[in-house]
C-alpha cells in the first residue's frame, strides 16, 4: 500500500535542524581543527603532539581520579537516603523537590561561590577536599533521583519472597534489593561521573593546583588561541567519555535487570 499522508518523521525536522546547527556542526569543527596542521592542511601532527605530551596523561588520570572519587562519595551518600525515602511514608515529593529542584533555582556559579565562602569559614577552601565537596554537592541530586526511582518502583514482594525463603534483613538487601536496583545505580553513576569529568569550573573555584582538570587545560589552550591543540585534546576526551558510556551500557545489558524503570532526567549532563 502506498503512503498517502506524510510520515510523522517530518515533524522531527525542525529539531534535526537545531541539532545539526548546535551539536553536529560544533563537533565537526572540533574534528576538523584536531586534524589540521598549522598551515591549514590535513595532518596527524596535532593529535600526535597531544598524545605524546606526558602532562596530558597526568591531568587525564587526575581528572578520572577526581571524578571517580566524587562519584563514589555521591553513591555512598545517595543510596541510603534513596532507600529511606523509598521505604518510608514521608512526603517524598516535598523532600525530593527540596533536594533536587530548589537548589536549581540559584545560579550554579553563585552556588559555587557561596560554597566557597562557607568552606573558607571552615578553613578548608581551595584544598583538594573542597573541590571534591563542591563536585559532590553539585551532582548529588543526579545520583539520588535515579536510585530513588529504581527503589520506589521495586516490587516489595521480592524482599518479602527473600525473607520467606529464609533471608534475614541484610541478606535480603544484598541478594535482592541491591542487585535489583543496579540499573538505578548505573544510571546515577553515569549521570554524575560524566559531568564531573568535565566540570572544571567547580574545581577551579573551590580547588587548588592539585585539582586542575583536563577541562581547564583545554580552556587554557583555547585562551592561548591554540585551536588545533585544544580541539585535539577535546576529541581525545570525547572518545574517552564515549568509551566509558559504552562500558556502562554493556554492564547494564549484562545485568539483565528489568521491570524497574529508571528515569533519566533530561539535561543530565551539563558540560562546564
Amino acid at each position: 500500500m502506498r503512503k498517502r499522508i506524510p510520515s510523522k518523521g517530518i515533524f522531527a525536522l525542525p529539531y534535526a535542524v537545531v541539532c545539526v546547527i548546535f551539536v553536529v556542526f560544533p563537533l565537526l569543527l572540533v574534528v576538523v581543527y584536531a586534524f589540521r596542521s598549522p598551515d591549514g592542511g590535513f595532518s596527524f601532527s596535532t593529535i600526535a603532539g597531544v598524545l605524546s605530551n606526558g602532562s596530558n596523561y597526568i591531568s587525564l588520570l587526575r581528572t578520572v581520579g577526581i571524578a571517580l572519587l566524587a562519584t563514589v562519595i555521591c553513591l555512598l551518600l545517595a543510596y541510603p537516603v534513596a532507600f529511606i525515602l523509598a521505604s518510608s511514608p514521608f512526603n517524598k515529593i516535598a523532600i525530593l523537590a527540596l533536594l533536587f529542584v530548589i537548589p536549581m533555582w540559584m545560579n550554579f556559579m553563585l552556588r559555587m561561590f557561596a560554597l566557597q565562602s562557607i568552606l573558607a569559614m571552615m578553613g578548608i577552601a581551595n584544598t583538594f577536599w573542597a573541590a571534591i565537596i563542591g563536585l559532590v554537592y553539585d551532582f548529588y541530586p543526579f545520583m539520588l533521583l535515579p536510585i530513588y526511582t529504581a527503589l520506589v518502583n521495586l516490587d516489595h514482594s521480592y524482599a518479602e519472597a527473600a525473607g520467606d525463603l529464609g533471608a534475614g534483613a541484610l541478606t535480603t538487601f544484598c541478594k535482592t534489593t541491591l542487585p535489583l536496583s543496579l540499573p538505578g545505580i548505573l544510571s546515577g553513576v553515569t549521570m554524575v561521573f560524566m559531568p564531573c569529568f568535565s566540570a572544571y569550573a567547580v574545581t577551579d573555584v573551590l580547588g587548588n593546583s592539585d585539582t586542575t582538570l583536563i577541562g581547564r587545560k583545554i580552556s587554557v589552550l583555547f585562551d592561548l588561541q591554540e585551536w588545533e591543540a585544544g580541539s585535539a585534546l577535546s576529541l581525545l576526551l570525547l572518545v574517552l567519555v564515549m568509551l566509558t558510556m559504552l562500558i556502562g551500557t554493556l554492564i547494564q545489558r549484562r545485568s539483565k535487570t528489568r521491570g524497574n524503570g529508571t528515569v533519566q532526567p533530561n539535561g543530565g549532563g551539563r558540560m562546564l
Partner: protein, 529 residues
C-alpha cells in the same frame, strides 16, 4: 555416604515432630488486624490440621490475604496470637518460620535464572550434621567424650543441585534450570514459584491466589497438579482464593471469610449443602434464597406452600431463610401433580449440559437448572425434595435498642425523637427497650421526610423483598425489609409509625448493673439468639 547420613538425620527429625503430638499444625487465636482504623481481620479463630488442604475463600478485601500474611509473618496481628505446632510464632520474622509462600504474582527474582531462584533458600538454609574429615567424609569423634561433634552446616553444591533438579522434575520443568525466569510463560513461572517454596520442605505451604493470573485452561490444569502435589508430599497447604469453584474442588476444608470474620468452615460438601447463612449460600454457587416460616420440626412454609425438610430445632413459627440450589428443583408439566408449586417459565438459557430457567412461582423468581427444557410462557410445576431445602436461622428479625424516653410520648431512637403509643405512661428519662420489626420501618427518598437520616449499607435480595442495612448518623446500623431497591450509599429518611415502636421499661440485669448497656442492638440481638 555423607549424603545418606544427612538424609537420615532429617528424616528422624521430621519423624519425631510428626508424631501427631500436635495435630493442629497452625492455630490462629483471636487474631485481629487493624489498618488505619479499619478492622480488616476481626477476632479470627482457626485451627488447621496437619496435612490438610485448607482454603480461605472470600470476596476481595475480606481479610483472607491479610490473615495469610500474618501466618507467613509479613504482617503482625494488632491483637491475638498465632501458633505453629503449639509454639507461639506471632513475633517471629518470616525467615525464621518453617513456612513458605507462593506469591500472587510469583515474585520470582528477575536477576536470577530458574535454578538460582529455586536454590535461593537452599543456599541460606543450615542443617544439622556431625563434624567430618574433610577428605574421607568420615565422622570425627570428640577426643574427650568419644561422641560425634554436632554442627550446623550449609548444603553442599551437589546437594543443592540434586534437590533443585528433583523439585524441577516434580513441577514438570526438567531441563529448565538455566532458563531466564522472564522468558517463561505464566504457567511455567507459577511452577517455578511453587518449586522454590517446596524445595525447602516447609511444614506449611501458603498459596496466595496463585492461579489468578492464569487463563482458564491453565488454571484447571494447575488445580489438578497442585492437588496431586499436596497428596504426594503430605505438606499442609493453606490456599487463598476468591474463586468458589477452585475452593470446592481442591480443598479438604473451606473457610469462608467475609468482612474480616469467618462465616463458616467445613468440608466443601458441607459448605455447599448446608451454608450457615445467606452470605455463604450466595457466595458458594448459585442459589435461591427465600424467606419462610418454620411450622414445626421437619416442616417449613414458603411461597405459600408447605414443604417437608430435614431441619429441626427452630422455634414454632420462627422466621427463617431458606436456600434452594438451582439443580435441586425438579420441573414438571403443569397438571402432572408431581410438584408442590406451580409457576410460569420466564426465560430459558442453554448452558451446555443443562438448561437454566427463570420460573416465577408464588412471589419468587426461582433460578432452576434442569436437563429438560420448557418453553417460555409454559405453566410448570416445581418440586423440591426435603434434602434440597436448607434452612438457616435469620440473622436478626427485629431491631432492638436500649435507650430512654426523651419527651412526652417520644423516645430517642438513634438520635431522633420518635413518637410512640404510651399505654404504660412512661415518663421522660425512663430507660426503655425499643423493638421495631424489620418490615415496620419505612425508608423515604427525601431525608427530610424522615425523623432521622441514614445511608444504605448493604442490601440482600431475599426473594420477595430486600433486606437493607442502614447506617444511622450515630454510626449504628438498623435493618429494614423493603420491597424497594436501594443503592449503596443512598441517603434516606427513616420513618416509623408510633404503633410499630414497641417500647417497654428496661430493667438492667443485676449482674450487669455496672456496665451501662450501650445502644448497640447487634450485641443485644446476639444475646437473644
Amino acid at each position: 555416604m555423607a549424603e545418606r547420613t544427612v538424609q537420615k538425620t532429617v528424616t528422624e527429625e521430621n519423624g519425631a515432630k510428626g508424631a501427631s503430638k500436635f495435630d493442629k499444625i497452625v492455630e490462629v487465636r483471636g487474631v485481629t488486624k487493624v489498618f488505619d482504623d479499619v478492622t480488616v481481620v476481626d477476632n479470627m479463630n482457626l485451627s488447621i490440621k496437619r496435612g490438610d488442604f485448607v482454603t480461605l475463600l472470600g470476596p476481595s478485601g475480606c481479610g483472607k490475604t491479610t490473615l495469610l500474611r500474618m501466618i507467613a509473618g509479613f504482617a503482625t496481628p494488632t491483637d491475638g496470637r498465632i501458633f505453629l505446632e503449639g509454639k507461639d510464632v506471632t513475633d517471629l520474622p518470616p525467615h525464621k518460620r518453617p513456612i513458605n509462600t507462593v506469591f500472587q504474582k510469583y515474585a520470582l527474582f528477575p536477576h536470577l535464572n530458574v535454578f538460582k531462584n529455586i536454590a535461593f533458600g537452599l543456599k541460606l538454609k543450615r542443617i544439622p550434621d556431625v563434624k567430618r574429615n574433610r577428605k574421607t567424609g568420615e565422622p570425627l569423634l570428640d577426643p574427650v567424650t568419644g561422641s560425634h561433634i554436632e554442627i550446623m552446616r550449609k548444603y553442599t553444591k551437589a546437594e543443592i543441585e540434586e534437590k533443585v533438579n528433583r523439585v524441577l522434575k516434580l513441577v514438570g520443568l526438567e531441563g529448565y534450570g538455566y532458563r531466564d525466569t522472564t522468558s517463561l510463560s505464566g504457567g511455567q513461572q507459577q511452577r517455578v514459584a511453587i518449586a522454590r517454596a517446596l524445595v525447602l520442605e516447609p511444614k506449611v505451604l501458603l498459596l496466595d491466589e496463585p492461579l489468578g493470573a492464569l487463563d482458564l485452561k491453565m488454571r484447571k490444569e494447575m488445580q489438578f497438579e497442585l492437588k496431586k502435589m499436596h497428596d504426594e508430599l503430605g505438606i499442609t497447604f493453606i490456599y487463598v482464593t476468591h474463586d468458589q469453584e477452585e475452593a470446592l474442588t481442591m480443598s479438604d476444608k473451606v473457610v469462608v471469610v467475609s468482612d474480616g470474620v469467618i462465616q463458616q468452615m467445613g468440608t466443601p460438601k458441607k459448605i455447599y449443602d448446608e451454608p450457615a447463612n445467606a452470605f455463604v449460600a450466595n457466595f458458594i454457587g448459585e442459589s435461591n434464597i427465600l424467606s419462610g416460616e418454620m411450622l414445626q420440626d421437619y416442616k417449613v412454609r414458603f411461597c405459600g406452600a408447605d414443604f417437608d425438610c430435614e431441619d429441626k430445632g427452630f422455634g414454632k413459627n420462627e422466621r427463617v431463610d431458606i436456600v434452594v440450589r438451582p439443580e435441586d428443583i425438579g420441573v414438571f408439566k403443569a397438571g402432572s401433580g408431581k410438584g408442590q408449586l406451580t409457576g410460569k417459565v420466564l426465560s430459558v438459557v442453554f448452558k451446555g449440559t443443562y438448561y437454566e430457567m427463570n420460573i416465577t412461582a408464588g412471589d419468587y423468581e426461582f433460578t432452576v437448572q434442569n436437563t429438560d427444557s420448557f418453553a417460555v410462557g409454559n405453566e410448570v410445576e416445581l418440586r423440591i425434595k426435603p434434602d434440597g431445602i436448607h434452612i438457616m436461622k435469620k440473622m436478626r428479625t427485629v431491631n432492638e435498642i436500649i435507650t430512654a424516653v426523651d419527651g412526652e410520648n417520644t423516645v430517642d431512637f438513634h438520635g431522633g425523637s420518635f413518637p410512640f403509643d404510651n399505654p404504660d405512661g412512661l415518663e421522660k428519662g425512663d430507660r426503655v427497650k425499643v423493638r421495631v420489626d424489620f418490615d415496620k420501618i419505612e425508608l423515604t427518598d427525601d431525608e427530610r421526610d424522615g425523623v432521622i437520616g441514614g445511608n444504605i449499607g448493604q442490601s440482600f435480595y431475599k426473594g420477595t423483598y430486600y433486606q437493607v442495612q442502614v447506617y444511622t448518623d450515630d454510626d449504628d446500623d438498623i435493618f429494614v425489609d423493603t420491597t424497594d431497591e436501594w443503592d449503596i450509599d443512598d441517603r434516606v429518611g427513616i420513618v416509623i409509625r408510633p404503633q410499630d415502636l414497641r417500647v417497654e421499661k428496661y430493667i438492667e440485669p443485676e449482674d450487669e448493673a455496672q456496665s451501662v448497656p450501650t445502644d448497640s442492638e447487634q450485641e443485644e440481638a446476639e444475646q437473644n439468639a
